[in-house]
């Protein structure tokens, strides 16, 4: 029973990480129709900042990671994607794929191909005993952090004027512009928020692993993107839930698959992804006859 609870909390925490990644990707997709494959390299940039600066000053490291995440996201927007705004979603995806590979090599050139290590927030790696259940403190912190960010983004989208404009632009960019919504501003704000969320993902993952390499962000982005697609990229809530489901599935398969087929857990997740896409091509949580936009 207690191990079940532990596994559940760990799964929720894994789900929370991918839900955050899916949120960051889904926000940008909403306004730009860009499934940003290079989202991982924003995460990686923040992770490098954390690993390098943490031994010097933890507070500075956290602030720096957030600033770097936002800056890299904005840089991507202005240097690459703002030139491609009128292109198809496929073109944008290919460009982001190219950008992802390019940035990985640049990181490799700057920081080397090997991983850098530092123990970031090692205090969080301990377990706490809560009524007989040993809980990984980091799992709890991850869940809380994800919850705070999800609520924060929700409040931003519904309570602020610019958030409302982001929603309008996601629903129908052309009409939003006719109402005076500034396209450049809305896109930049969305990128900035997605960069901030990437920094949060980087924080959780660097505490977990204590290392960062050039392709650090690829895995969470891949699963976040996959989750967002199976949840329905056209609907932010669906995307977030999709990311969560992928994380939970990965974590539970890891704990429960018998050892002889455990190595195939990722294969199972991909099989699941294919099954979901084939059975629900518009996403698990699409409201049936959702408006198809390509």
């Amino acid at each position: 029973m207690t191990s079940f609870l532990q596994a559940l909390i760990d799964a929720t925490s894994a789900g929370a990480v991918y839900a955050l990644a899916a949120l960051g990707i889904g926000l940008v997709f909403g306004v730009l129709r860009l499934a940003n494959f290079a989202y991982g390299e924003i995460i990686t940039a923040s992770a490098y900042t954390l690993i390098i600066v943490w031994p010097i000053n933890p507070v500075l490291a956290v602030l720096g990671a957030a600033v770097v995440g936002v800056a890299v996201a904005l840089l991507m927007n202005y240097a690459v994607f703002s030139w491609l705004r009128s292109q198809s979603a496929a073109t944008l995806l290919i460009a982001s794929f190219g950008l992802s590979i390019l940035l990985q090599r640049i990181y490799e050139g700057i920081f080397g191909a090997n991983v850098l290590s530092a123990s970031v927030a090692s205090g969080l790696s301990t377990s706490v005993n809560l009524g007989g259940v040993r809980l990984n403190l980091l799992s709890v912190v991850t869940i809380v952090l994800a919850a705070v960010l999800l609520v924060g983004v929700q409040l931003f989208l519904t309570r602020t004027s610019i958030g409302l404009q982001v929603q309008a632009a996601s629903a129908d960019f052309r009409i939003a512009r006719l109402l005076g919504v500034r396209s450049g501003l809305v896109i930049a704000v969305t990128f900035a928020i997605s960069g901030f969320i990437a920094a949060a993902v980087a924080f959780v993952l660097t505490v977990q692993s204590g290392t960062v390499g050039p392709s650090f962000g690829v895995q969470p982005t891949l699963f976040g993107l996959i989750g967002a697609v199976i949840g329905g990229l056209r609907n932010l809530r669906g995307a977030v839930v999709g990311g969560f489901v992928v994380g939970v599935a990965l974590s539970l398969l890891t704990s429960w698959l018998p050892p002889e087929i455990n190595p195939f857990r990722t294969a199972f997740v991909y099989l699941l992804v294919i099954a979901v896409l084939v059975l629900r091509p518009n996403g698990l949580f699409s409201a049936g006859a959702g408006k198809v936009r390509t």
Partner: protein, 261 residues
């Protein structure tokens, strides 16, 4: 030479009321082409301050393309295309919207997932930076909700749940919240019930009475010609005829105008 109504209550009009006022919208030789296909082939017209001008014509005559070009949503070419003396050519749709030009596009396009009140708040985006401040905004909100009382009842509801006629009212209300000096409507009566059409036309008349110029694109020829100071008939991308309010009763002329004879 058409006559412009004078509007003494508005200071900018008072200054020019003796002479012929500058048109608020001046369109000279506008052309719009998509790829190789010409949709608008040299259209010239103007809208004076506080005036209601109509454009009618069959589907595919270039009405929507004309409006979209004015609003900056599609690229057009023109000898002159000015709104309040400033050229609209090459400007972004959001810049044009923020300069006091409000377009209610065909099919109204409200944000169905957002509440009625959020839709209205989005209308206020283009109002940004106007001098009239908070009290001005409150007054505008009040005025708009009086114009469309049904919206007040449904403020908290998702806009997608409104009927077609109510959604059209919401779209017009949303545009009015930007406090435009020119309201441009693309076929507001399309797909509405006769009662809803009456409501929409009454609202348009009220907007004009309040001093806002209106450019009304319609398929309902008779009602438009009756309401507008001038109604231009568009056919195959050109203005083929211009009618005055007196022509509204001439069924034969309207039919001819419409069918393009």
């Amino acid at each position: 030479m058409p006559e412009y109504p004078t509007m003494p209550e508005s200071p900018e009009n008072a200054a020019t009321s003796s002479a012929r006022p500058e048109p608020i919208l001046d369109v000279q030789n506008l052309t719009v082409a998509y790829g190789g296909v010409t949709a608008v082939a040299g259209v010239t017209f103007h809208v004076g301050p506080g005036e209601l001008v109509g454009i009618i014509g069959p589907n595919g005559a270039g009405k929507s393309s004309t409006l979209l070009a004015l609003a900056g949503a599609v690229r057009g070419k023109a000898d002159r295309l000015t709104f309040e003396g400033t050229s609209l050519l090459g400007r972004k749709p959001e810049q044009i919207a923020r300069s006091g030009f409000a377009l209610v596009p065909e099919g109204h396009h409200i944000f169905g997932a957002l509440s009625v009140s959020d839709n209205l708040r989005l209308g206020e985006v283009a109002r940004h930076g106007k001098g009239r401040g908070k009290e001005g905004l409150a007054a505008t909100r009040e005025w708009v909700l009086e114009l469309f009382p049904i919206l007040r009842e449904f403020l908290g509801r998702p806009a997608g749940l409104l009927s077609g006629g109510q959604q059209q009212q919401l779209a017009i209300a949303r545009a009015l919240l930007s406090e435009p000096r020119l309201l441009v409507l693309d076929e507001p009566s399309l797909g509405l019930s006769p009662t809803a059409i009456d409501t929409v036309f009454e609202a348009i008349a009220a907007v004009q009475r309040a001093g806002t110029a209106v450019l009304l694109v319609e398929q309902r020829a008779q009602q438009t010609v009756a309401a507008a100071a001038r109604t231009h008939v568009l056919g195959e991308g050109r203005i083929t005829m211009t009618l005055g309010p007196a022509d509204a009763t001439d069924a034969e002329l309207l039919a001819k105008a419409y069918l393009g004879s």
